[in-house]
Structure formats: C-alpha cells, structure tokens
C-alpha cells in the first residue's frame, strides 16, 4: 500500500518545524523559503494550514514538463524533479493548479515535495502530528485528486 501525507490543520501551531526540516533535508539550509511544504497563516481566524503537493496520480506538473524532468517514483508514488533534466522553464509552476511547484531562482530549477524518498522529514519534525504519513486511502487526497480531474479533464488513463 502506498503512503501519503495526511495534514490536519487543526493540529498545526504554526511553528514551521516542517519547513525547517524540509529545507534542511533538500537544501542543507534552515530556510523556509526553500521548503517544499509551507504553512499558511490565517491570523483573523487563528488557523495555520500546512500545505504541500498531493502527488496527484495524473500529475499536471509531470504532464506539462517539456523535458521529462518530473518522473514517478514507483515506490513512493512521488513525482520527483530530476535536477539534471530540469531546464528551469517553469511551465510546471503554472501548470500545477495547487501551486505546490516552485522555482528556485538560485539553482535555476523547480522544487516540489518528493516525500523524501519515503521518509518525509516534515512528518518526523512536526511536534503535534499535524502532518502524518499514512496509507494513501486514508488521506482524503482522493477527494482532491478527483477535484483535479474534474477541473482539468484529467482522464482516468490507467483504465
């Protein structure tokens, strides 16, 4: 059974440990601006919402990439960016309707969540279990993926 990130905003305190763990894992730097997961703050409402890639099954970023730089990791289900192939054209950053692919101006490559190869560091860093890594069918991501399908005419091409 493939696993997925399950995020419960109600448990989030906005501490950004996930962003620090993510940026450290991927860039060797404690730097939220380089994190693949982001915590959004709703001050008026007193809410914090961690958000990252849902690894959609028919990923728009992957489809839109003109140079085959985003590929499926069959073990984790993650859509991973190959730095050697990515030319930095940013088409994926506008194609992803969830806004979870970002361009790193320093490296000239795009960055997105890769589930850390199956051991997501945001999960181990989160002090409140607001982010957990569980069997994919528990996550409700199916709902979001469904939404992505409807919005983007994304066919169930695995039929």
């Amino acid at each position: 059974m493939q696993k997925a990130l399950l995020i419960d905003p109600d448990k989030c305190t906005g501490c950004l440990q996930c962003e620090l763990a993510c940026s450290y894992e991927h860039e060797g730097v404690f730097n939220p601006s380089k994190s693949r997961i982001r915590v959004f703050t709703f001050h008026q409402e007193g809410r914090f919402v961690p958000y990252t890639c849902t690894q959609c099954s028919e990923a728009w970023c992957q489809q839109a990439c003109p140079v085959d730089a985003i590929t499926l990791n069959a073990d984790t289900g993650a859509k991973e960016v190959s730095d050697s192939a990515c030319v930095g054209c940013k088409v994926c950053t506008i194609a992803c309707p969830f806004g979870t692919v970002n361009y790193n101006q320093v490296t000239g490559k795009v960055i997105k969540c890769d589930l850390c190869g199956g051991d997501p560091k945001c999960v181990s860093a989160c002090p409140t279990q607001a982010i957990v890594y569980v069997d994919a069918d528990q996550t409700g991501y199916e709902k979001m993926r469904q939404w992505a399908k409807e919005t983007d005419n994304n066919p169930a091409a695995s039929a």
């Binding site: 501490c15 620090l20 860039e27 860093a125 409140t128």
Partner: protein, 618 residues
C-alpha cells in the same frame, strides 16, 4: 558556525546603513543576543547617556541558534538603555522576526543617533534601506503592520514596530513584532520612537546553512525536542493553558499579588485563569481561547490566540477587535486582572489587544493602573484627573478606558504612561509604587515566594521574573523543589537562575525550554552549531559574565546598593501577607542581599570585585 558574522549598522542621524563583520572574539565570550548585544552597548555607549537622546543606541540581536531548527530557536533581543529604569534594558521576543533577520543574513542591527524625520528600516537579505515613515507615524502597530504588508505585498514580511504610545512618550512602550509578540519591558519601544524609527521590516530568504556539525546538530536537536514533548510542563501544561496555567496555582499558594499588592490572593483568579480561557463564555458560547500558537521553531507552542465576544462592552461596534489576536499570558492577565481585581476575562483580553495594537507593556501598565486605583480610592487621584471615570479596583470599564488612553497618550493616559514610580511620586505617595529601579514586578509575590523577591531586587533591568525565574524551583520543583516560604539557600538559587537565564537569553532559545532542559541539554546544541567548544560549564560562566557586565553598566549608570531592594510594603511586617499559606510572611530581601553579594563575588556595595571581574574576563 551558525552566526552570520554580519552586523547591520544603521546611523539614523545620517540616514546610512552599513554592513560590518561581527566581532567573533566577543561572540566566543558573549555568544549572541542578550550577552553579545550588551557587550556592544557597553563598549559603544556611555551608560550615563540620556536613554532618549541620540547618544543611546538600540541593538536588535539574534542568537547563534536563532533561525535554526533547534526547538524555540526564534528569539531576538532588544538591548538599550531604559528610559523607565535608567538601567540596561534587554527585552526578548519570539514570533518570527528574529529568525527572519537571521535568514536575511544579520546577527545584529545596531541603531545609533536619531533620525530627523520618521523612518522605517526595510531589509531584504543583504539590501537594507531607511524609508520615509511619515505616512505611518502617528498610527498603531497594527496599522503599521498592515500598511507595510500592503505596500510590499509579501505576507512573509516580518515586522517589528512601535505604536502611538511610544510616540507619545509612554515610558514603558514595547516593540511589537508579528502583531502580538513583544520586546515588552523597560520601555525599549520608547527608545525606538525617540529615534524616530517607526518599524523594522525584514524579509530573509538566505537561511542558516553554516552549522558546524550538521548531522550531530540534527541529532541533538531531535533528542531535545523529544525531551520537551515528554515533559509535563512543556509537553502538556504550556501548550494547553499557556503560561496562564499558573494563575490558579500561584493563587492557591498565596503568592498572587492583588489590589496593588495589598493582598496575596484574588477571589476572581479562576475567572481569569488559563482554565477559564477554555470555558464557553456566557455571552456567545465560545471560549476566549481559539487555539494555541507557536513562535518560530517552537515545539512547545504556549502562545494564546483569543477572541473577545462581539457583544462585550469593550468592542461593541468595533469590528477590528472581533477577530483573533494574541491572547492573555499569565503575567499580563495578572497585571491587568489580579492586581486591579478585575475578573472580566474579555476586558482583560481587550486591554491586552490594545497593549499589542499600540505597543506597551501590560505588566507595567496593569501595575500602574493598580497603583492609580489605590490612589483613587484614597482620594488622591480624583475624577478631575480621570475625566469622571470611577477608577476603582475591580472596574473593567476603568481598565478599558485606561488602555485606550495609554494607547494614544490622551488625558489621564499621560499620567499612566509614566509608570507607577513616577505616577506615585507625582501624587506624593512614592511608597505605593510596586517597583524596583523604577520597573514594576509581575505576578509572583515576594512575601509568599522568597527567592523571587531577591531576584526582583537584584535584576539588572529592574523588577522582572524572567531574569531569574526561581518560581521553577520554588513552586514547580524544577530542577529541585525548594520551599518558597524560606529565604535560606535562596541567594545561591537566585544566582544560579540568573546566570543560566543570561546564557539562555544569549543563545537564541526561549527560556521556557528550561522547564525541561538544563545547560547540559542546551550546550550540545550550541556546540554542534557553533565554532568553539561549548560545554554546560562554559555556558554557566558565560551567563555569569553577562550578568556582571550588565551590573557594570548599571553601576556606571549610577545604580547603587540602595537600588537593590523592594518596596516597603513587601518587606515589612505591616505589609505582611494577610491570607493563605504565606500569611504573616514578608520578604526577607535585606537578609538575603549580603549573602547574594558574597556569592556573586561582589563587595558590600554591590560592586563586582576585581577578582570576580578577572575571573570572568571582564
């Protein structure tokens, strides 16, 4: 090495900004944040200077762990000379701006001189500029924050600002960051406003990447996060109730000062407690508390996010107060509530919102209101001063009005903005000011908790609980339980807490970690991150060095043994506790003080001896 190695020097008189290297030799001796900034202040300014004049400097400083993943590593300090105490001031704050400053590549910002016109400092990584602030001068912190966010259209811009209270000369104005975190005490905001500096806005996307031993750092950080999670205070009590977990506890042991410290217990304590913040309000059925919230990198998350019921008298027809904002912490709830005997939680929250909105210290403010209430009930202050507002203990209306006045510096707010020492002197009753060195002390009564009284008397920034939080030992039993009612052994305890605190305050970490951590937990995190060898012993010595350096500053500023004391009310039989477990007790501060000096290696006038200074490399 975890420091960025860079200081931003801002000359407000000239309108210039310049980068310079951090003095790494000093960094080895004073670490960062409180210690290192104090060193710079002592080296670069005359302690006799006018705190509100151009010769005073104001330093915003991060610690080496600020901006890293070390739990609570988001702190920064504001170090300057205080207009409230004329002593050295060091006010720490969490939130996010400290880490942002670090991520922009700066260990410290030194502000010197005074701008001829209002300005704010904008920093985007290595670019910094002073920008005209005339459009936001005369507005609140919240408005300034909104204006800057609108201007730059970057939700992640982090902002520290002063409000109208600071501009109008309130002597205990705070610097508010991230809307409701504060470098709160000793009037650091007043200094900032005196320099015509309205705000500091920072965006940093460089991060902290130069950890000495990255793998080991992650390992010790994770081990120590687990310790915080497992500890009942940092893992359960603080997240659930915040510091407000203490309201009922301290009341029960008879150490909750009430009615301008005439009493040591408050009947309404439960109504304004952390527990009460969870209970549904009668008015709208919602609890005061919406959620807890964390500062940068903090795995404790003691912060309170609260609302005021929309129908509450304080916010009727004032929609801007209907949303969530920073809720009550214990010391604020105590000052605004217990010391004034007001048990209206939403009224306290309103006053707290205003303290954040216009930037002033709720502890000094609440205590000053309490002193004014006592003077009013004595007939010394009358309706003539208060504009007809009945200024009695227990009046939530009076508190709300007072908060509004101080926010803008209007009417009776001008008197209240003086702080209780000057207010009580003005009205001929200096004995009613519950202060040390001009600064009000908070929510722990020196009659029922002996050690904390000695800490208040000797604290380098005037009365303060977080210079040596002996409550941990005397009430909570951390690291060992001591009897709060006895003075024996307390000089040692106070010294140990003061020195350890000075080290923690220099690291970038939050003092609250020390409910679960001691120096042996903190030292490896610093050692893995920073150049040099950092042991627990070295940190303790560093803390002692910082303490003595602050003392040197204060003595040069004119502080003497006579200032190391408590108000008569607390140390005399006439003022002894009238109820509770401490009944009949008064502070034995005068008995403890000589021993404290001796333990510190100070002479009987309270001056560090040459031997002590040599030992500490001062």
């Amino acid at each position: 090495m975890s420091w960025t190695g860079k200081i931003l020097r801002v000359n407000l008189t000239e309108g210039t900004v310049a980068a310079e290297p951090l003095n790494m030799q000093w960094a080895q001796q004073y670490l960062g944040q409180r210690g290192l900034a104090s060193k710079y202040l002592l080296e670069e300014t005359d302690p006799k200077c006018d705190p509100l004049g151009p010769d005073n400097k104001m330093i915003m400083a991060t610690g080496p762990l600020t901006g890293t993943m070390a739990a609570t590593g988001g702190r920064y300090s504001v170090v300057t000379k205080s207009p409230l105490t004329n002593c050295i001031a060091c006010s720490n704050s969490g939130g996010f701006i400290g880490a942002e400053m670090k991520h922009a590549g700066w260990d410290m910002i030194i502000f010197e001189g005074c701008s001829p016109t209002p300005v704010y400092l904008y920093i985007e990584n290595d670019q910094a500029e002073l920008v005209d602030a005339s459009e936001i001068w005369g507005t609140s912190v919240w408005h300034t924050d909104e204006w800057l966010h609108n201007k730059y259209q970057d939700p992640l811009l982090r902002i520290s600002a002063v409000g109208r209270s600071a501009e109008s000369g309130c002597l205990y104005a705070a610097i508010i960051n991230d809307l409701h975190r504060a470098a709160g005490r000793s009037g650091v905001g007043t200094v900032m406003a005196s320099k015509n500096l309205k705000a500091v806005a920072v965006r940093g996307t460089l991060g902290v990447g130069n950890i000495k031993q990255p793998e080991r750092f992650m390992q010790v950080v994770n081990e120590n996060k687990a310790i915080l999670a497992a500890n009942p205070v940092t893992g359960q009590g603080l997240p659930a109730y915040g510091t407000q977990v203490l309201m009922n506890v301290i009341n029960e042991i008879g150490a909750l000062p009430a009615k301008n410290m005439q009493e040591v217990q408050f009947d309404g304590a439960h109504d304004i407690s952390g527990e009460a913040m969870h209970e549904p309000r009668k008015s709208d059925g919602k609890p005061n508390l919406t959620t807890n919230a964390a500062c940068f990198g903090c795995t404790i998350a003691c912060g309170r996010i609260s609302t005021i019921a929309q129908g509450h008298f304080t916010v009727e027809n004032k929609a801007k107060y209907w949303g969530n904002s920073g809720g009550l912490e214990y010391e604020a709830a105590w000052a605004l509530g217990a010391d004034t005997e007001i048990n209206d939680l939403d009224a306290l929250t309103y006053a707290n919102f205003l303290c954040n909105e216009d930037g002033y210290d709720p502890i000094t403010f609440g205590s000053t209101v309490a002193a004014a209430m006592e003077l009013y009930e004595m007939g010394v202050i009358t309706d003539a001063q208060t504009g007809g507002v009945a200024f009695n203990f227990g009046s939530a209306e009076a508190l709300a009005k007072a908060a509004e006045w101080v926010a803008t510096g209007e009417g009776f707010g001008k008197d209240l903005a003086l702080g209780s020492k000057r207010l009580c002197e003005k009205y001929g009753h200096p004995e009613l000011s519950m202060t040390v060195k001009g600064q009000e002390f908070p929510a722990y009564d020196p009659r029922g908790i002996q050690g904390i009284g000695l800490n208040y008397a000797t604290s380098n920034r005037g009365a303060c609980h977080v210079r040596g939080y002996t409550i941990a030992s005397e009430v909570l039993g951390v690291p060992v339980k001591t009897d709060p009612l006895v003075s024996e052994g307390k000089p040692d305890l106070v010294k140990a807490f003061q020195d350890a605190t000075a080290a923690v305050d220099s690291s970038g970490l939050c003092l609250f970690t020390t409910f679960a951590w001691d120096m042996t937990n903190i030292a490896p995190q610093i050692d893995a991150a920073c150049e040099g060898e950092w042991t627990a012993e070295k940190l303790v010595e560093l803390g002692e060095r910082v303490w003595n350096m602050e003392r040197q500053y204060n003595m040069q500023a004119g502080i003497t043994r006579a200032d190391d004391t408590l108000p008569e009310r607390l140390k005399s039989e006439e003022g002894a506790a009238r109820t509770g477990p401490a009944k009949g007790k008064f502070s034995e501060v005068e008995k403890m003080l000589p021993e404290y000096y001796e333990k510190r290696g100070w002479n009987e006038d309270g001056a560090p001896t040459d031997e002590t200074l040599n030992r500490l490399g001062l």
